[in-house]
Amino acid sequence: MISVNNLSKTYGTKPVLSNVTVAFPSSRLTSLIGPNGAGKTTLLMMLARLLEPSSGSILLDGRETSSIKLSNYAKRVATLRQSPDFNLRLTVEELVAFGRFPYSRGMLTADDQHAINEAISFLTLDSLRGAYLDEISGGQRQMAFLAMTIAQQTEYLLLDEPLNNLDIKHAVQIMRALRRLCDEQGRTVILVVHDINFAANYSDHIVAMKDGTVHCIGAVPEIVSEQKLQQLYDLAFKVIHDKQGYLCNYFTTSGEQE
């Protein structure tokens, strides 16, 4: 289990995250939601150790993360930032192979090759193996990056807006894949997601953040209510819950607050 205690981050004197205490349950999919500037990504980046907290602690199975060697941390926690950008000409398979670096330090073994193949077929990218990243669509590229993160074979996956700029089909594909990672492989997935409907239909837990603090936290049925979402986003919501799942409508509902 990964948990944070009294975590704060300030830039200069401006607090972006203040006294956040959250526990992320294992083998569950947790979505971080909330308006822009709420500190979701900041929290995720500190879990990933890409940012240093100003104060507070992050515990991985009860152990302070800053005391874990980075090279060992990469075997337990994998991170994918939004739209990674670099000017390398890589094929999908070469990119996925990078996910094995924490284990093989660049010398791929048979085990590594097996993990790479598994990650590629998990996301049904087999036909794109040899394709260059700059020659495939944004959705396919995002899948390729996700495959690299999966190949890292960590208990924890941290994803920063993995659905950014994706069409609905790729977005559903990615969320289904994440769901399967939790259900079939028992991995813990924590992601920042903006589309409330994806969060409501695919997560187990939701952490709603606002103004650098945790606004509310709980299982999906507790959080996805008209009242809580209205408070969170300052928008009028209509939530329809049926057998198919949740549908949160905030587009045309009247009675907008403020």
């Binding site: 991170t79 950008d85 000409r89 924490p102 330090r105």
Partner: protein, 315 residues
């Protein structure tokens, strides 16, 4: 996919090297060929330094139009030469001796790089772009001091200075070559095992950290190694300015690979070939009426442009 197999390129380098050694030498093993061997060794060491330092620097900065020159190493070297000439006149060469000058240059450049890394990376600052900006500003400041020193020397002394600001292979003495060899070998030993880590660094900071690379420490380490390589090549040959850009980008275009295991050796072959061809042309075609620096920039620039136009998105 590789466009030119590696062994063909290396065979080409060897043919070029033999041509350089033997062309019009009259097989004079007592004077001409030993002299040429010295120049050849300088080219090989210099080529290795320039190729490795440029490729590694571009990997760390994630930018393909930079060379370590932007950090101000060559500016420091030129300032040192100007100050020496200003203080001691053209006699400085005699007083210090070539080896003294070489050692002083290497040490000063290493001290400079140590100081700016210490200063810029204190309290965990991690931004490579900030480092580049400071390097660029320092380069300009130091160059201004250099100009100031150059304006106050006599025309005769100035021509001595001018010869230091152009790369040349003839200056290198055997002792310097041996020291350079040792330094380059040390660098090679410390990067040899970690070439895949350089590949990971080229994915950028965030991806590198999430793959378990201690980004801050690795970047500092590679910058230090780059400083050693640049110090060696600059002290040995003089400033080569932007030849590194040509070498690195030609390497990427010819190898079509991101793996440093492939690009670093290929880069060496390319840099060494460029040097040999330029030196051959200076010695046998232009009869010393032009310099290697001018030729390198002219030929590399033209070739590079052609490459960009032909491969477009490829490079």
């Amino acid at each position: 996919m590789r466009l030119i197999p590696r062994y063909i390129l290396w065979a080409g380098v060897i043919v070029l090297a033999l041509t350089f050694l033997l062309l019009n030498s009259g097989l004079d093993f007592t004077y001409v060929i030993p002299k040429r061997l010295g120049r050849l060794a300088a080219m090989v060491i210099g080529g290795v330094c320039i190729a490795w330092s440029s490729i590694m620097f571009q990997t760390i900065t994630g930018n393909r139009i930079l060379t370590p020159a932007i950090m101000g190493y060559e500016a420091v070297y030129l300032l040192l030469q100007s100050l020496l000439v200003m203080a001691m006149g053209a006699q400085s060469l005699v007083i210090l001796g070539a080896n003294g000058n070489f050692s002083l240059s290497v040490l000063l450049m290493l001290a400079y790089s140590w100081a700016i890394h210490r200063w810029l990376f204190r309290n965990g600052r991690q931004n490579v772009y900030f480092l580049l900006l400071m390097g660029l500003v320092l380069t300009m400041v130091i160059s201004t001091f250099t100009q100031f020193a150059q304006f106050s020397v006599s025309p005769g002394e100035f021509s001595v200075l001018l010869s230091f600001s152009q790369p040349s292979f003839g200056r290198a003495k055997p002792e310097q070559l041996i020291i350079s060899c040792i330094l380059v070998a040390t660098v090679w030993l410390s990067i040899r095992k970690n070439l895949p880590m350089l590949d990971v660094l080229s994915l950028g900071r965030d991806q590198a950290i999430s793959l378990g690379v201690n980004y801050q420490r690795s970047v500092q380490r590679y910058l230090a190694l780059i400083a050693v390589l640049v110090a060696v090549s600059t002290s040995l040959l003089g400033p080569t300015a932007f030849m590194g850009i040509f070498v690195a980008n030609t390497t990427y275009a010819l190898t079509r690979s991101f793996r440093h295991r492939i690009t670093l050796p290929m880069g060496c072959a390319i840099a060494i070939s460029i040097f040999i061809v330029a030196q051959l042309a200076v010695e046998h075609i232009f009869n010393y009426r032009t310099t290697v620096g001018i030729l390198v920039n002219l030929v590399c620039g033209a070739w590079f442009l052609m490459l960009m136009v032909r491969t477009r998105a490829g490079a």
